[in-house]
Subunit: 182 residues, 2 copies
DNA sequence: CGGGTAAGCGGACACCTGTCCGCAAAGACG
DNA sequence: CGTCTTTGCGGACAGGTGTCCGCTTACCCG
């Protein structure tokens, strides 16, 4: 864990800036183009962000943080299940505007998973679920990973289908997460 | 809609045979290798099956048909919700053994969707849902496409996670599809 | 059976993602 | 300030998917 070299972190920043700029123009920018714009080689880009998703995760980090924070706020002001429902709405909002946020979320949690942690998003979801489980309104056997898996379909819907179905699907998932009453 | 040329359909068959053979050895065979084994060019393969998924859909057609048939059988012998639950089990079985069956299912329904039909799988799911909706046990606003979307995550779980979570996730989805009781 | 035409062939090619490795230069240390 | 180590650079390359287009050949028709 030695501190990073000066040029390395400078490059990292330049890559992120270039990625943000490039993605603003075209959501599915080629990694080549980003590297070129940042004035670094391909290898450099890939060393800093081993996969496209890692890069996205960092680019959208602010948005991801906002989602995490929203979970806390919602929990403070609503019943757990309602908080979860609202949080889903929030997720849908993000996913609609920038489809890639979902990919970022997914990749963020994935990356963290192998490190035996859930990562910030996972923790947020865990808090939401546990509150509901404590109140008895969320099924006890559901965990954050379940939720992440079930909502990542959002990133694969095209714009039209998203508009038609996203919230509806989230409602189904939400009902599935409630405590079975029968 | 002119009938296909003789060599064309012969090639189609050869490609399918080659694909089956190649996939039996290695589930993620390169399309190149399949084309080569079939003795046709890349272009030919891609013309017949524009994408990997289309090819898989055809390769696993028998399995897909079996799933479709299972829906009918289950409906005849069980309550609708139970039938759906059992059918989910069946899907999980297939998905576990051959991960690609799910991709095939997905692509099959996708391809059919653009043709404004649901395709065989979609129809099977529709029958299951409608029976439950008629009985009042499945939420009236759920349709086949919802189910397809929600269960295609199965194809993206790795073997370990599949074993841990697949059925559990299907149970959550199933509960979400029940009529909300509150 | 011979000629015309369009369907179909097949492989070269474009394009992306991700890897590898020889080289440069950053920073520690005397 | 010089030298050594070691981090980091960058671009060539491998490997894969899907496209394109000039040539072939099956099939219709006279």
């Amino acid at each position: 864990m030695t501190p990073p070299r000066a040029d390395a972190s400078a490059n990292r920043d330049r890559i992120l800036a270039a990625a943000r700029a490039e993605i603003a123009i075209n959501a599915e920018a080629k990694l080549n183009a980003i590297a070129q714009r940042a004035g670094v080689g391909q290898g450099t880009l890939y060393r800093h962000f081993p996969t496209r998703a890692h890069l996205l995760a960092e680019v959208y980090r602010t948005d991801v943080d906002e989602l995490v924070e929203a979970a806390t706020t919602l929990l403070a002001t609503h019943e757990p299940v309602t908080a979860l429902a609202r949080w889903f709405d929030r997720v849908a909002d993000y996913a609609q505007v920038k489809r890639d946020v979902m990919a970022a979320v997914e990749s963020a949690t994935w990356a963290d998973l192998s490190a035996h942690s859930h990562g910030p998003i996972g923790d947020a979801v865990t808090r939401l679920l546990q509150a509901g489980q404590f109140a008895g309104t969320i099924r006890p056997d559901a965990d954050a990973r379940d939720v992440i898996i079930l909502i990542t379909y959002l990133s694969r819907l095209d714009a039209e289908e998203f508009a038609d179905r996203a919230r509806h699907l989230l409602a189904i998932v939400l009902d599935g997460l409630r405590t079975p009453h029968r």
